[in-house]
């Protein structure tokens, strides 16, 4: 749906985007991830024909952004970083105006307007002036504006920036709900967002693509298969014994002692490559008559993968995957 080959955008003094290539399949939902100033917005502006590229080629829905911008514009919905709203208009009038300039057939303007207002949960403020709306509503009106003509491709530039946590979750749900019928590319510098919403991720830093992968694979890139085990033996066995028992479990490559609470023994257990010793470890502990208090897998968070890729110092300790899924750290 989106093909980008060797795309560059140079300004007089700096290079915003430097020879990037990627492609997005139809129906996919892709996170465009990078620190501020990485070139996300510039790339999106090129894809929406707002900026011409200095070099390279980009096609959206089969049309070249430079040669056939008019056809590209028909097939995209775009939500810029600041939603492009006219403060003096009511939500309804504004959306009807956008429907008109996006070539929605005359007879369908009202129906489409009502539909997207329902879908983006702004129907309750339809007659309010946009200038009176809260930030969350504005963002949703911006999203409604982007999907009003049912475009094949949706380009969303930081769709959740500046929203409160509840609104962020709602907006993410909304975006997830749009996937499938639309191909979505959304930019963000917030990692949990990519994990929560996207299937694939393109990481960009200083104008260059540093990784393109599925969220799952990227997360498992390093540190896959490490387990953290907490055992209570109620005095039957000491740490030494438990350690030895764990080392004997098939599929375990290494066991490390970790400091833990007084009555508990804590270990980090590495599996052999390509195996997961999780079940066997649990069975071994229970069969020995000890209590298995906690067993969790310690995949590296996307955050660390990201920091590693963009070349900053990664966080010191691996965070259990459960913490990442909760969506922390803005």
């Amino acid at each position: 749906m989106i093909q980008v080959e060797g795309l560059s955008k140079r300004y007089a003094r700096h290079v915003a985007v430097n020879n990037i290539s990627f492609s997005v399949e139809k129906g996919d939902i892709v996170g465009f991830l990078g620190p501020n100033g990485a070139g996300k917005t510039t790339t999106m502006r090129i894809l929406t024909c707002f900026l011409p590229p200095t070099e390279g080629k980009a096609t959206v829905a089969g049309f070249d952004v430079f040669e056939q911008p008019f056809d590209v514009k028909k097939h995209i919905g775009y939500l810029p970083e600041a939603p492009p709203l006219y403060p003096e208009m009511s939500v309804r009038d504004y959306l009807a105006f956008v429907a008109n300039i996006k070539n929605v057939p005359n007879g369908e303007v009202n129906r489409r307007t009502d539909e997207v207002m329902e879908r983006c949960a702004v129907a309750d403020v339809r007659d309010k002036l946009i200038s009176k709306l809260s930030k969350g509503y504005r963002q949703r009106v911006g999203l409604a504006q982007a999907i009003i003509h049912n475009p094949d491709v949706l380009i969303l530039d930081e769709p959740t920036s500046g929203l409160d946590p509840k609104q962020i979750i709602e907006t993410r749900e909304l975006i997830k709900g749009l996937a499938g019928e639309h191909t979505i590319i959304l930019s963000t510098h917030i990692l949990p967002e990519v994990e929560a919403v996207c299937r694939n991720v393109i990481i960009i830093n200083k104008g260059k693509v540093v990784a393109t992968d599925s969220v799952e694979r990227l997360r498992n890139r390093t540190g896959g298969g490490t387990l953290q085990v907490q055992v209570e033996t109620a005095g039957i066995a000491d740490a030494e014994t438990v350690h030895k028992r764990l080392e004997q479990v098939p599929g375990v490559s290494k066991v490390l002692d970790r400091p833990g609470p007084a009555t508990r023994f804590v270990f980090e257990v590495d599996s052999l490559p390509g195996q997961n010793a999780r079940a066997d470890v649990a069975r071994a502990i229970v069969h020995s008559g000890w209590d298995l208090v906690e067993l969790r897998s310690m995949t590296q968070s996307l955050e660390e993968v990201f920091l590693e890729l963009v070349g900053s110092t990664p966080a010191t300790e691996a965070v259990p995957a459960t913490a990442v899924a909760e969506g922390v750290a803005q």
């Binding site: 900026l51 008019f70 492009p84 006219y86 403060p87 003096e88 208009m89 956008v98 300039i101």
Partner: protein
Amino acid sequence: MRNIWTICRRELYAYFVSPIAWVLLAIFAVLSGYFTFLISSEFVRAGFESQLQGQSFPMNLNEQVIAPLFSNAAVISLFLIPLISMRLFAEEKRQGTIELLVTSPVHEAEIIIGKWLSAVLMFCALLAVLAIDYSFLFFYGKPDWKPVATGFLGMVLQAGCLLALGTFISTLTKNQIVAGAVGFALALLLYILNWTTSFGNSDTVQFLNYVSIVSHLDSFTRGVIDTKDILYYCSMIFLGLFLTSRSLESLRWRA
């Protein structure tokens, strides 16, 4: 065509829900009303005087009231036109809504013409106030309607030029005040260019006189439609809108 009308309608809406339209209408109503009162009282006084002296001066409502009123209205609009055109693109740039327009399947020309047309229609609303002033002259006297009609045509064409240039200036900045000030300076310059006629009759002076915007309005207010003037106005409108389109295009390359 549909896109032009959609954009034009939104712009008109923006004028009339904001105070701009109403403030401009109020200013124009007060000033043009004052001039109407002044000029028609002078006309009436001159009429009485000629009767008292027993001689009859040739009295003509068209020449002595309507034509000077048009010239005065032209001066007032000189001040007001930059206020109409200054927001057209500057506001969109500041709000970021220009991104919506430019990434929509709308031709650049449709955006520009739609916006310019809305500004012209906004100016026509001001002229409606002038038409009300004139209606009193028709009520109490019998002026010839044809010079009035051509006068209005001339006013609209002249405003069309200044608005087209103002639209161009509005694409150059995010700041409406700057757009307004520069627009006013340009309008004033075009207005006073023909003052150079006092320096003689060289080619340069004739050229400046031709470029000056007022010298073309006079014939309209006297009821004369000259192709030379029409050509001047149309080419100025085209120039303004063409510069606007170039400027919008370059905006994309510079941004």
